[in-house]
């Protein structure tokens, strides 16, 4: 039996579809077309909202740094946070631009490569955010107490306590990665938790990189099937 013998059956099925396949136009108008427009608006709205939230934070942190430029113990944690938020904004803008420029009618291999590269970038950023979270909270505490309450975290908390928290944050990182690798696949009842854990463990990133590699192989002349 050959693929061309089977092709006949496929085309026979095609003729039957010509006679029997019907488009449910009521459902098409009532649900699909309306929802397609709504979801597009929602996606843009979500990305813009994210940027609108980040902008005042960057401005506020910039103003905080300017006010405390002579006090590096306050200015440096604020600078660290500011760089972090600006990096997130940059990533958001890049995704917004990339999404706007993406044409779903591009050739399959080109579009899948572009989509997967963007996905890899997002997964790397998510992993970085998740890993950086335990370290970020100490600068947030220092800047937040000073900025909102006028309190000096260095005077309230022992220096050793603050240093211990930074070290604890560093220790939490490998522990979180180990837990994610071990338990991500067992979280089938909580897809969101499972996804976060797989992002942290790097499982999703590895899968995306594998697919990108298989796209390149597919594109190569005479690659093995």
């Amino acid at each position: 039996m050959d693929l061309d013998d089977l092709k006949q059956s496929w085309q026979q099925q095609d003729r039957k579809l010509d006679a029997g396949l019907r488009l449910n136009t009521v459902r098409l108008y009532v649900t699909t077309l309306k929802k397609a427009e709504t979801s597009l608006r929602r996606l843009s709205w979500f990305l813009w909202l994210d940027l609108l939230v980040d902008i005042p934070i960057v401005i506020w942190l910039g103003s905080f740094i300017a006010d405390h430029i002579a006090e590096p113990r306050f200015a440096l944690p604020a600078l660290l946070l500011d760089v972090f938020v600006i990096a997130l904004m940059g990533l958001g803008i890049r995704q917004l631009v990339a999404l706007g420029a993406t044409d779903p009618a591009e050739p399959v291999v080109a579009l899948q490569k572009r989509t997967e590269s963007l996905r890899i970038e997002r997964l790397r950023a998510v992993k970085l955010i998740l890993l950086a979270s335990p370290l970020i909270w100490v600068p947030m505490l220092i800047v937040g107490l000073k900025g909102f309450l006028g309190a000096d975290a260095y005077a309230i908390f022992d220096h050793a306590w603050l240093a211990a928290n930074v070290l604890l944050g560093l220790a939490v990182i490998p522990l979180a990665v180990w837990i994610s690798r071990r338990y991500a696949d067992r979280m089938q009842r909580s897809p969101l938790v499972q996804r976060v854990m797989r992002d942290l463990a790097g499982t999703n990133l590895n899968a995306a990189q594998d697919f990108l590699a298989s796209l390149s192989r597919f594109e190569e002349e005479g690659a093995a099937v």
């Binding site: 050959d2 693929l3 579809l17 006679a19 029997g20 397609a36 050739p107 005479g222 099937v225």
Partner: protein, 167 residues
Amino acid sequence: MSTNPRQDRFLKLLDEHKKIVYKVAASYCRNPADRPDLEQEIVAQLWRSFGRYDEAYRFSTWMYRIALNVAISFYRAETRRSRDTVPAGDSLLEIAAEGSGETDGNLQILREMIARLDELDRALVILYLDGNRYDTIAEILGISESNVGTKINRIKQRLRRDVARTA
């Protein structure tokens, strides 16, 4: 039903080429219950992109590209995105009983063979079985024409080997 000429034109073209949506969705859904969701995602994406459709291209080429891109992404998604879709059960494409034709044994073999292929070879085989020429397949997938020929031949050889092994 619509007073929008753009929607009417879209509906007319979609109706003429609805088999593409049906066959791509049927070939990429491991679970048949997911098929209506994939059909809906494909049609929604076609509608979103219809404003950018360039008449210089054949509608079927444009439609294959979008349908295959959506299907590959859908196939690769870790979780079903149910937020933007209506639950399965009420399908966008319906087949009359006399039109199903799923009793053909060869078709069953073909479906099983397609299911064993990865998402890219699957796209290639669907386009080949639909009777597209190598240059059209190359245009849709974005690879060279000679590469299409090489891959089709290798898939054919693999199928022969599989059939021989089963026999």
